[in-house]
Amino acid sequence: METRDVEGVTLLYPRGFINAHTVRQFEGEIQKALAQGHFKIVVSCSGLAYIASAGLGALMGAIEEIRGNGGDLRLANLNETVRNIFEILGFNHLYRIYPSEVEAITSFRSAGAAGC
């Protein structure tokens, strides 16, 4: 999975799908960022076709530690399928979701910037 750092924000680029088969790698990338003390994370989903509950569980398993360290995990570029899954489960109320990667990155400059 491609990752990069921009303006102190760690960007993760999952590709294809995140389900029980691929979730370990996704979890591993999140944990790697946390181990390096990076608590501002954007998951950029332009290459993500769909996410199953295993992937949503990985997001949920990390969010408290991230926020407890003054950071956040935000999402960008969700396709309709992925956005719909978030809405079905109410995850759109737990995570800030931005239309673009740039907006997600810049949202960290101003605390409390609203997603959509």
């Binding site: 389900n19 199953a52 949920m60 899954i85």
Partner: protein
């Protein structure tokens, strides 16, 4: 000696002048078996999506139905088979005209779906729980999700009516 069998002419409808006979509707159904390995979830997803689209569902709804089946098969692998990779998961996918039905069948441990806790997202976050969302997602997507034990096998039956909204 075999005698040729006379073919019966198709019965004509009496309704309307020269009306063509209504074609007998044959709906698609498919049975397949996969090993109890998560590497096959992609295959399950693609096949379910194609079958759902051919049954008349939109691409978006077909995506969600494929996700529900992915979740059901994942549950079997993780809970009924406890991660064993050498077991078999059977899928029966059927377009029944007014509804789309998928049965996921396994011969693993009996799993009591009533033991699955209701999803409470804030509690999940505070307790750092990462499981139990699958059944909840299946129930949101499908019109009905039922579990039964039959001939020492677990059958998870997922049904989506064609006239129902994409998700509840």
């Amino acid at each position: 000696m075999l005698r040729p069998v006379a073919r019966r002419a198709p019965r004509r409808s009496n309704v309307g002048e020269g009306a063509a006979p209504a074609p007998r509707s044959v709906k698609a159904s498919l049975r397949l078996s996969i090993p109890s390995q998560t590497s096959f979830l992609g295959v399950v997803r693609e096949i379910t999506k194609k079958m759902a689209e051919s049954a008349g569902f939109s691409a978006g709804t077909a995506d969600r139905l494929a996700l529900a089946v992915d979740e059901a098969v994942t549950n079997v692998i993780e809970h009924a088979y406890h991660g064993a990779a050498d077991r078999e998961v059977e899928l029966r996918i059927e377009d029944r005209g007014d509804e789309f039905r998928v049965e996921v069948v396994d011969s693993g441990a009996s799993v009591d779906p009533r033991a699955v806790p209701r999803v409470d997202l804030p509690r999940y976050v505070s307790e750092r729980r990462t499981g139990g969302l699958g059944v909840h997602l299946m129930e949101k997507i499908m019109d009905s999700v039922t579990f039964r034990r039959s001939a020492r096998r677990n059958v998870c039956c997922l049904v989506k009516r064609k006239d129902s909204p994409p998700a509840r």
